[in-house]
Every structure is written in structure tokens, then in C-alpha cells.
Amino acid sequence: MNFQAIKSIYKYEMARMFRTAVQSIVAPVLSTSLYFVIFGAAIGSRITEIDGVSYGAFIVPGLIMLSIMTESISNSSFAIYFPRFTGTIFEVLSAPVSWVEVMIGYVGAAATKSVLIGSIIFITANFFVDIDLAYPLVALLFLVLTSIAFCLFGFILGIWADGWEKLTIVPILVIMPLTFLGGTFYSISMLPETWQTISLFNPVVYLISGMRWSFYENADVSVALSLGMTISFLLACLFVVRWIFTTGYRLRT
């Protein structure tokens, strides 16, 4: 294992992040604040409590998940697509590193950023509503696992994409609908029965539900199932990354 290489990639990526701190941290905080103003304050004031939680507080776990999923994908896909696009990836490909080091470096940095963003959003939310956090460590676990899983997914996307369009279309076409229909703004139990069943095929439902459980101890599905789904998704992405690097798919000719 080339630890120097992991450290180098990680540091390099973190430096890049702080150089673009405005767009990478301020932007998600701003957009989350807007959700609070619109859904929490304006509309939420007319919605009664859900499962004994005020609407403004109810959407917090979902909003955190929503942000870190989209941020993880876009940051991590960009991190690996950009060097491919400019050609600087040659250095990583010719370095004495295996896919494990490359992945830990890039995904680790992107996931760190996501966890930071998630924490900042949580702090921001406290300015808008009163939040009880029942199980902080479980919340942190979901935050970290989801960040890593979606950063891995973004990493795959960044390697698969052969143009900027593909890089942006997947988050919009696939991830956006899944996250919006994943129960950020409502409880699955509020849906008609057919839609409840359909929702269970949406992996994001499990992630958001798990996060909400760690806040308010109520959830759409059991927390163990949520955790299981998160870990399964993470492992699936891990296997794809491994396959990509061992076959050289889109990286080596």
C-alpha cells in the first residue's frame, strides 16, 4: 500500500476544495436555507406535525441527505472526470498505485467534504428550527456511509462519462427524482398504498428513513434495513470501481 500516494491525492483534493470553498460549501448551505424558508417557514406553517414532529424539523434529516447525495456525486464525479478531460490523469495511471489508493484518495477527500457539508447544514438548520438529535452517533454513521457510497457512485460516473453532458444528466435524470421521491418532504406513510409499495424500490427511501430515525426515532422502514441497504449500495459501488480499475475500463487503452 502506497500511503504517501493516498496522502498526496487526499491533500491535493482537499486543497482544491478549499480553493473553491465558496462554490463547494456556501452554495449547498444557501440552497438548504432556501428550502427552509420555502418549505419550513412558508408552507410548513400550514402543515400539521408529522409523527409528532413539526414540519420544519421533520424535513431536516431529509435535507441533509438530499444535499450530501447530490454534493457527493457532483464533487466526486468532477474530481475524477476533470483530470481525464485535461489529460493530467496520466500521472495517476503511471504512478505506482493500485485502484485502492486512487479510490481512497479521491473518494476519501470527496466524502470528507460531504460530511463537512452535512454538518454545516445541520448547524444552519438549527437557526431555523428546534431539532432534537436522538442518536448523534447513528446520524454520523449514516452521514459517513451515505457520503462514501455516493462519492463512490460519483467516482464511477466520472469514469464512465465521456462528455460533460453525461456528467450532469445522470444527477438530474436519475438522482434528483429518486431523492425528491425518497421522502425528504413527506413520510412514505402519507402516500396511497400503491405508491408506498413503489417507494420501497427506491433505495434513497431507506437512506433518508435511516437518517430520520436517528433524529426522531420514527422511520418509514426499520433502521436495520436502512443500514443494510446503505452498506449494500456502498459495497456494490466498491465492486464496480474495482472492476473498472482492474480491467482498465475507460482509463487504459
Binding site: K11, A15, E91, V97, R252
Partner: protein
């Protein structure tokens, strides 16, 4: 002593069906400077990229310092430095940071003194805090060289290091390469500029259509293949080539003061003795003479133009 690079029966066919390399065999000695010459599309970059791990070979093997480039890639790649042909547009990072990054990526612990030494040798020290995007093309190429040298490679590939580089920088680079050789680094450079190989290389390999068609010591090559020309500075100008010299391929200069004779050093009889005897018979006197060798460039064009 074993070779630092040993390429055995290496072949590459790209997905599109382009055969870029065919049965390439090549041995590079430790500490030498090897010039790989070939026209566009000959397969130079493909060969380098396979050894560096960016392209998978279709068949064959390559050993770096006795280690297989696929099985022992960690070992081989940590030995190799690569300066690619294309200039990848590095983004907003500074010269210092990008060089330090390369060092870490190749598994070497931080060593600011070494990075400083490399930057100074490439006249980049003043630019260490400049962002790469602000540098000129020639400077960017120096940065790429600095990145490759930052991790102290034993084997350095320079893929057309002086393409698009001004004369001064080219001289600088040649000096850097010489210093590297003195410190024991093996350098393999590809180039279209024949004078570069002529100036720098200890040995020269010529590749064409994916096949190595010749590998030879540069001086031997030039001696064996070189055509020479003998110029006689006459004591008195001649109005024309005297009839007695008709049998020789001699050319008289416009002002009639110089006679030039072309001969091939490979031929058994160069004809020089006979020519000089004929000159004496004609009573032509000369007060100086010199010979000059044709450049590697002419040799190279000669080789590549030959039918396969």
C-alpha cells in the same frame, strides 16, 4: 550489468485495429541516453505508454530493472519518470505544489530540498508560487519535467521534450539531461529533431510502422552509414572541371576555388587516393582540405524512406 529496460516481443493493436507495435525487442543499458527516432505514427509514444502503464500491451513483456511491468508494477513505476508528449493543461495549482504532489504520488516522503533543487535546475524556482495556468507553453513543459524528476526516477522517458520549445530552452534541457546522465539516470527520449538525438544520445533506435528497424551506437551509426564529403580549397581558381577528372563525381564551386567530392565511407574504395593522384597529374594544387560527415538527419531520412 543487466539492462534497466528490456522489451521482449512487445506488440500492440489498438481497439480500432491499428497495429501500433509489432514484435518489438529493445534493451536499454543502465546510464545511457537512448534516442528513439521515428516519423509521426511510428509507435514511439505507444511503446513508452506501455512501459509506463498507461496502455496495456496486446502481447509480449517488458522488464524494468528486472521487474515485470504488469506483475511488479509498483516496483517498476516507482523507478520510472515520464514527461508526456501532450501537454496536459494542469489547472490552478502552483508549480511548487504540483511538483510536491508528484513526489508523494510516487510514494516518496516529502523532501523540499530535492524539489527545490529540481525547480532550480529547470529555472523554475522564481515561478514556484505561480499557478500553472499562468505559465507559457515552454514553462509548462519544464513543470512536467520537474514533476517527473521530483520523485527521483532511475529511468526517465522524455517524449518529444523539445517540441514547441525555443532554442534557449532546448539548450537548457540538453544540459539537464546531461546532468541526469552524470547522476546515473537512464534517459530515453523520442524526437523528430535529429540534431537532438545527434547531440544527446549515446545510442539511437529507429522505429517505423511499429517496428524497430535499427538500434546502434550513434557514432558507429554515423560512421557506418555516413556519407562524407571532401572539400579541396584550390590554390588557383579553375574555369571548369578539367577533363582529366571526368570519371569522378566532383563539383566545382561557382567561383572556381573549391572542388567537392562525395563518397560513401561504407564503400570499399572511397576513390580518394585515385582522385588525389589524378589531381596531381592535372597539376592542380590545393592549399587546404576538409571532410565533413552527413548528419544523422540524412541517415534517418535514408532509412525510413527505404521500402519495408
Amino acid at each position: 550489468m543487466s539492462s534497466i529496460l528490456s522489451v521482449r516481443q512487445l506488440g500492440k493493436t489498438y481497439a480500432g485495429g491499428v497495429v501500433a507495435l509489432k514484435d518489438v525487442d529493445l534493451e536499454i543499458e543502465r546510464g545511457e541516453i537512448f534516442g528513439l527516432l521515428g516519423p509521426n505514427g511510428a509507435g514511439k509514444t505507444t511503446l513508452i505508454n506501455i512501459v509506463c502503464g498507461m496502455v496495456n500491451p496486446t502481447y509480449g513483456t517488458a522488464l524494468v530493472d528486472g521487474h515485470d511491468i504488469v506483475r511488479d508494477f509498483r516496483k517498476t513505476r516507482s523507478i520510472i519518470g515520464l514527461v508526456p508528449q501532450e501537454l496536459p493543461v494542469e489547472t490552478f495549482e502552483t508549480v511548487w505544489k504540483t511538483a510536491s504532489f508528484s513526489r508523494g504520488l510516487f510514494g516518496k516522503p516529502p523532501n523540499p530540498e530535492h524539489v527545490e533543487k529540481v525547480l532550480r535546475s529547470l529555472s523554475l524556482w522564481d515561478k514556484r508560487d505561480a499557478r500553472i495556468i499562468e505559465l507559457s507553453g515552454g514553462m509548462k513543459r519544464r513543470v512536467l519535467i520537474a514533476k517527473a524528476l521530483s520523485h527521483e526516477p532511475e529511468l526517465l522517458f522524455l517524449d518529444e521534450p523539445t517540441a514547441g520549445v525555443d532554442v534557449e530552452l532546448r539548450q537548457d534541457m540538453w544540459n539537464v539531461v546531461r546532468e541526469l546522465r552524470e547522476s546515473g539516470v537512464t534517459v530515453i527520449l523520442t524526437t523528430h529533431y535529429i540534431e537532438e538525438a545527434e547531440e544527446m544520445a549515446d545510442r539511437v533506435g529507429v522505429i517505423n510502422h511499429g517496428e524497430i528497424i535499427l538500434v546502434q551506437d550513434k557514432n558507429t551509426l554515423m560512421r557506418e552509414l555516413g556519407k562524407k564529403e571532401l572539400t579541396l580549397h584550390l590554390s588557383e581558381p579553375l574555369p571548369g572541371v578539367p577533363p582529366g577528372l571526368d570519371g569522378y563525381r566532383v563539383v566545382l564551386s561557382d567561383d572556381g576555388s573549391e572542388l567537392t567530392y562525395h563518397y560513401d565511407t561504407k564503400e570499399e574504395h572511397t576513390g580518394i587516393t585515385a582522385l588525389l593522384a589524378s589531381l596531381q597529374a592535372e597539376g592542380i594544387r590545393f592549399n587546404d582540405l576538409n571532410t565533413s560527415q552527413s548528419s544523422l538527419e540524412e541517415i534517418f531520412v535514408d532509412l525510413v524512406k527505404r521500402p519495408a
